[in-house]
């Protein structure tokens, strides 16, 4: 895309679920660890021990926020690695006990692709369906369990439609049957309360760049006693659970982001919920033939996902971008397949509605006037695209 299309003054970012900008305090917190406290934390001398101390502090902060102990947290390169580590790690370590895994049909690809890989390696995977709101039924989990089940992995909240799963109920079923339970908390950690004890989970994935921290750093909570085969293999870092020289700057930034979340989360949740509901209501009112995807209430504070009939997602995204609004779609446009979002299909949307989806995700730096602006611009964009659409035309006939 050439320059001219950004000539508008406004630039409104409404794709916080894809990634967030670093909070400026996070950027600041990272600075000492690039060139000053740069030592390899595994080393004995002062340069290394200083880095190690910073790492210990960061780990402590994150653990505390989760209700975990520091030894239960390992740092990874992001949510994808945390999920790969949890899934493959538990599967390989538990192979002598069984080969069955239960997950849902709306997981992030880092979970579902790991499952597909494991299927090739001889594991059996049950992909649970969800209801029209995108919710997993705990009863289905119970019924899927066999005496070979070694792991259940259900995401805390879905990244596309924001549906928050009944994790506590599922975790307690898993616990009863002594099966490890993992949840992908990438979209919830530091956004809504996440406490590993309350939730009752054994493993939990996090990613810093979804919470105003840097990209390329994440963490995995592994409850004491849970056995995993390391995924990233090599040196003795992270108590031999995750090799590679530790990304201290990233870790320090992550910890700062968590510290900020701790401070801001309550208010932010309220603000985002308000803006979210305003945007949903506004779209449904102002745009004919639009519908909300996901659950109206059991939903991430910042998530708005709608389908706008007769027009396609990518062309909406591009038109909105021309007006300075950044959002995303579950249409197939950005992926190498032609299939639209597996999540939207899983909640029962027909293909055309899945291709017509638009996701706005609201975050820390969103203002109410941004929402107003979207509500002003979106109907025009819809009108323009519908005027081009053969489907809309047909309908009118």
């Amino acid at each position: 895309m050439e320059k001219t299309c950004y000539k508008q003054n406004r630039r409104i970012y409404l794709d916080y679920a894809a990634t967030t900008p670093c909070d400026l305090q996070v950027v600041e917190a990272m600075q000492p660890y690039f060139s000053k406290i740069f030592g390899n934390p595994s080393t004995l001398y002062s340069f290394g021990q200083e880095a190690r101390r910073a790492m210990r502090e960061a780990r402590g902060k994150i653990a505390e926020f989760l209700g975990a102990s520091p030894e239960e947290i390992i740092f990874t390169s992001g949510g994808t690695e945390s999920n790969n580590t949890a899934l493959k790690g538990v599967a390989y370590a538990g192979r002598n006990k069984g080969n069955h895994i239960i997950t849902s049909s709306i997981e992030h690809h880092s979970v579902s692709e790991s499952c597909k890989f494991l299927e090739k390696e001889g594991f059996k995977v049950t992909y649970l369906t969800v209801d029209e709101y995108g919710l997993v039924n705990p009863q289905d989990v119970k019924e899927a369990i066999t005496d070979k089940t070694i792991l259940i992995s259900i995401m805390h909240a879905n990244n596309e439609i924001g549906a928050i799963q009944p994790i506590k109920d599922i975790a307690s079923i898993a616990r009863e049957k002594e099966i490890y339970f993992h949840t992908d908390s990438v979209q919830t950690f530091a956004h809504i309360p996440v406490n590993v004890n309350d939730l009752g989970v054994d493993l939990l994935s996090m990613s810093a760049h979804k919470l105003y921290g840097p990209k390329g750093i994440g963490a995995l909570y592994i409850k004491k006693g849970v056995k995993i085969t390391p995924f990233m293999q090599g040196g003795d870092q992270e108590k031999r659970k995750r090799a590679s020289t530790e990304n201290i700057a990233g870790i320090a930034g992550f910890a700062k982001a968590v510290e900020l979340a701790k401070e801001k989360m309550g208010n932010e949740e309220k603000k985002l919920t308000f803006l979210r509901d305003k945007l949903i209501k506004g779209i449904l009112e102002k745009v004919e033939h639009s519908r909300l995807n996901g659950h109206p209430a059991q939903r991430l504070p910042g998530n708005v996902n709608v389908s706008i009939e007769y027009i396609e997602g990518e062309s909406m995204v591009l038109n909105l971008d021309m007006k300075g609004i950044a959002c995303s779609t579950g249409s197939a446009c950005t992926s190498s397949s032609l299939e639209p979002s597996h999540v939207l299909l899983a909640i029962g949307l027909p293909h055309e509605l899945a291709h017509s989806s638009l996701r706005f995700t609201i975050g820390r730096f969103t203002k109410e006037e941004d929402i107003d602006y979207v509500l002003e611009v979106l109907p025009e964009v819809v009108k323009k695209l519908r005027s081009m659409s053969p489907l809309y035309g047909e309908k009118e006939k």
Partner: protein
């Protein structure tokens, strides 16, 4: 995804020849909602020359841009010339497409062929 070229974005922003032609000489319908792209291409033919072309498209940026481009390319061409317009020609005229969007140019070619077929069916038998 790779970004779109300037030309693609230009056609996407200001698509040429949007709409229907009343009493067209040929109409092509291609694509389906499953794959996420539907194109309708209308042509008006006079003395073997395509005098007008319009489209309606449900689809991504590339689908709209290729629709726009193919209508531009085809106008003023004879039917036989129009039949030689390949997806490659459309792509090239747009300054290239991201590899995962190549199917849109194929769709545009098919829409054109389908409209011409329709014209043949309506107006004369192909030799």
């Amino acid at each position: 995804m790779e970004g779109y070229s300037t030309k693609v974005m230009e056609h996407f922003r200001n698509p040429r020849n949007v709409g229907k032609i009343e009493n067209p000489d040929g109409v092509g319908h291609v694509g389906n909602p499953v794959c996420g792209d539907i194109m309708e291409l209308y042509i008006k033919v006079k003395d073997d020359i395509i005098t007008d072309a319009k489209f309606k498209t449900f689809g991504c940026g590339a689908a709209i841009a290729t629709s726009s481009m193919v209508t531009e390319l085809v106008k003023g061409k004879s039917i036989n010339e129009a039949l030689t317009i390949s997806n490659k020609a459309v792509t090239e005229a747009l300054g290239g497409l991201p590899s995962i969007k190549m199917h849109c140019s194929v769709l545009a070619e098919e829409a054109l062929k389908s409209a011409i077929d329709d014209y043949f069916k309506n107006h004369r038998s192909r030799e």
